[in-house]
Symmetry: C3
Amino acid sequence: MLNHLLTTNELKVEEIYQILTEAQHFADGMKWSPEVQMFSANLFFEASTRTKSSFEVAERRLGLKVIPFEVQTSSVQKGETLYDTVKTLESIGVNTVVIRHGQDRYFDELVGKINIPIINGGDGCGHHPTQSLLDLLTIYQEFGTFTGLKIAIIGDIRHSRVARSNADTLTRLGAEVIFSGPIEWFDHHSLSAARFRPIDEAIVEADVVMLLRVQHERHQKKGSYTAADYHSQFGLTLEREKMMKPDSIIMHPAPVNRNVEISDSLVECKRSRIFKQMENGVFVRMAVLKRSLESLKGVYGNETTYSERQLHSI
Amino acid sequence: MLNHLLTTNELKVEEIYQILTEAQHFADGMKWSPEVQMFSANLFFEASTRTKSSFEVAERRLGLKVIPFEVQTSSVQKGETLYDTVKTLESIGVNTVVIRHGQDRYFDELVGKINIPIINGGDGCGHHPTQSLLDLLTIYQEFGTFTGLKIAIIGDIRHSRVARSNADTLTRLGAEVIFSGPIEWFDHHSLSAARFRPIDEAIVEADVVMLLRVQHERHQKKGSYTAADYHSQFGLTLEREKMMKPDSIIMHPAPVNRNVEISDSLVECKRSRIFKQMENGVFVRMAVLKRSLESLKGVYGNETTYSERQLHSI
Amino acid sequence: MLNHLLTTNELKVEEIYQILTEAQHFADGMKWSPEVQMFSANLFFEASTRTKSSFEVAERRLGLKVIPFEVQTSSVQKGETLYDTVKTLESIGVNTVVIRHGQDRYFDELVGKINIPIINGGDGCGHHPTQSLLDLLTIYQEFGTFTGLKIAIIGDIRHSRVARSNADTLTRLGAEVIFSGPIEWFDHHSLSAARFRPIDEAIVEADVVMLLRVQHERHQKKGSYTAADYHSQFGLTLEREKMMKPDSIIMHPAPVNRNVEISDSLVECKRSRIFKQMENGVFVRMAVLKRSLESLKGVYGNETTYSERQLHSI
């Protein structure tokens, strides 16, 4: 039974805690690599710096050999299907693939037919499970629990790959999620996942202020704001930051539009965990890759160093 | 004396058997790597998933360090010649280059002037020797001989990189080659290499049905077929597959146009060796790279594991 | 205190000699690699074969893991700033970055805010310090000194990344620099760095004839020459080569426009050090990377082999 990672919704609460614990071990210095030489490939059909680079680092830290794949110089240009591309990589000996693709649930046509684990690096407006998991790790490191936390997710929930799945998952883990942002960007479906609050109330209540990126490319016609308008009405301004609770933190999946979602000078302020999230991304991806590779028949790994410190209270 | 690999025509029969034997050893688990750190680079001036990825895996299995090269971000954009590009890579310490290039016999301007072995990953409509060799390995694994086999090559022989050189080589090895496909796609030259048979006769006679990819980009004006027309007239339909001899096999260099050259449901049928060909591609490329590197002065390798099983009857 | 490498102007004479000595050690077979796994990334916002490949080889020779970065598939496409891109790479564990960027002094916005060393692979029309250093190493290997040498730099000084900084540095090291080329391509500023001589006088005087690439893309309107005109008026023709002093050498940063800056048949003539420069580029970059990595807190390396031969007279 292959351990793909497709969505966080499909992960049981105990599986989430297992991945977070393993990720924290990696953060604490644990090393692991498969006993035999293994290969991975990263198929990014959409632009990415952070996610792709983060997987590239994670893979090399696990001792994997990474086979380069660039969409624009691949046979996808000759009309090859995603299935045939992945099956080809499987045939030549690639042991796991990470895929980012613009189509929602692109993986439905692969699962059950491909014999290597698939790790979803983002699909359409749907899911981005390693982003969700790194958000969870960052919150857990801060508070040692999810129970009773208030998480405000602010921005374009409808087009966000992570907002709804984060909301679902955080709720399952015992947190309370609040949505905020331009009300006209919300539809019935997105509002069903959490209650809506105006930004100035959301900011005051939240333990975690999770800002979403304004995707300019999706808002060019109606309901669009200038950068300055968005910032003053829905952004984390210097004034709003002062209204935040003591010990509350700021998160953002990045890339940040400085002075739109968040004031330039807050990006690296004391409350900000934005670059911490990126650090954690590598550890979460190492844990997810290890989990996938271990689900392949006959794969064993060497844990060569081990730190005793564990994720608190698990 | 450098062992380039430029065309299969230049390989003697005994050299072909040597490469296939070595490839089979790799398939059986042999490991080999050069004693000192060595570098390769893959210069693909045309799109490719399979060939490029296959070389990337083969190189890493031999312990080579692969220097990335992307045409669109190279000095080729500033008008640098192929010779100067390859000479540059030689100067900075690259020990072998794999090249795919749109120009027929691009390597003629390099051989004799470059001091590192060149492996042809496909030139113009000319040659694609590692594809030929992986076809040969796949056939040999199946039948244990080439003598007396009937091989039907079906499709656009004239524009195929492998059809004519496969036909020459298979004939030299003792097999009989039959051509089929749209007769108007054949010219005098291509017909001189083998006899032509209508598809329904070719299919019935053949031990190996080798389908060629329809290169849509080359047939947009005259002599073009719709996908459905091509499939019903010249494709491997479900009906035609039933006419094939017992124990005969299906091959295709891929990427496949599903329901054009071959019915979608036959791509992974019991007779199909299409994904087996891709597997074999890695072993053939390992053998070819080893052969080239060993021709460099002072290069020795370590054979660290060895399987006793040999390619039958060689 | 991080050892960036931004410009040669900022390097003291003793630092230049330190880098050249270390580079010569690498040329003589010294090996060095950091004790722990370290990561680099090469951010090339402009086309390059030589410089990028040379860094790729140098990094692997030092045992670094190289994280691939392609501008056209990165979040730079979503408008991410250079600072945020580099900070991201720092956050995910990259230990040093090499950057080539079209903007003059792009690094001014990074230094002091980024906690990993930056190695300038070329900025705008400004600097290209590893090119300068490899030029210096090549000259030093030839003559064992800089004192009293006459170096003629010929071509488009104004648009050259290396000409002016080479001129400054060579002068500081005790050499005399002469400029030549189309007088209308010189401005007051470039002429202040060295005296100008007509080409036929410069060639006769020089110990080193350093040709610059004609950057066709920058000379399409005024002051432009046909290739043949440039060659006969300002290029190194067969006739001019015969006028050169005994033991004088020819250099060019490449890519060469054959039969423009230099006659085709002189590119690999006995006097030419053009491909030697490329070889030296790898050793210089190894030295520069080692210097940068050693400036990171807690980084130690293993020198596993060592050649006794030293750069003469240092």
